[in-house]
Point group: C2
Chain length 170, copies 2
């Protein structure tokens, strides 16, 4: 059996970071999809959902993509840790490098878009504020915060995979 490719950090540390990322994104998604607000003050009952805003839809998409990728990487790292083997060796390190980079940007922009809308919307709606509408925006912000935490962890994973890049041919 060929030796597994060496990585810049112990695989267990990488695994731990992936698992925490996964949990953060999962909770972020749950919080976001349960975010809704029912307005009963007027004659008609109107319901506001997170999906009524493009920024929150993007936040959800980014979280789902990040979650799927974290799940894949967790499975692969468990495989590496338990069997000491990993398919593809060096080419896999290059895949990790590019994929980690792209995913960290996706998660970062998801969190930023969520915050970009929530923070100003909260200020704009202060005039017509109700505590329930505030709860709606607070929940959306909580989802964005979790996504931000997940981004910090994906950025860490991206640093790890960059440092683990195979030796460059000079």
């Amino acid at each position: 059996m060929a030796p597994p490719p060496s990585t810049a950090v112990p695989p267990l540390v990488g695994l731990l970071v992936r698992i925490v990322t996964l949990v953060c994104l999962l909770v972020s998604i749950v919080v976001l999809v349960t975010t809704s607000y029912t307005d009963t003050t007027g004659d008609e009952v109107s319901k506001l959902k997170f999906s009524d805003f493009y920024a929150y839809r993007y936040l959800l998409s980014a979280s789902v993509v990040g979650l799927a990728y974290s799940f894949l990487q967790t499975a692969l790292t468990v495989l590496l840790v338990t069997t000491g083997n990993r398919i593809g060796a060096d080419s896999m390190l290059l895949f990790d490098f590019y994929a980690d980079k792209v995913i960290s940007y996706v998660v970062a922009t998801g969190a930023a878009a969520g915050f970009g809308l929530s923070v100003d919307l909260k200020r704009l709606l202060n005039a017509v504020d109700t505590s329930e509408l505030n709860t709606f925006l607070h929940k959306a912000e909580a989802a964005a915060s979790l996504c931000l935490l997940a981004f910090v962890l994906t950025a860490l994973s991206s640093i790890f995979s960059s440092l683990s890049l195979p030796k460059r041919v000079q």
Copy 2:
């Protein structure tokens, strides 16, 4: 004279990417700071500036940070290209790696926050729309688009500097 550290891409390519990044961010900043809207429909004349929104303030901050960094890197790369020498050699490659990474995240989140607010604000304000208010939001979106383009270029620089990392001690 010690030989300059080898990079994964020719320094001239790196320089070109830095210069285009610099131009994009500069134009983005100019477009954003000139974005204002004067409402003369009511009794009072009220002026809306980009700085009235936190998301646009963050977009400006991110662009300014990105611009300052691109300027520094352009100067250092010109030094490398003209003299073939660069202070610090390998440790400088490590600095480039971390700094490029951080700056690309800052610029990416700046663009995402700008878009996150603009896209939904445009839809929300459709009811009370005036063409001038639309121009305000379009200009802000143009600034965010330029910042997005700059982000793609900073991400490219970040890939270059990651691939140029000094050989890892195995």
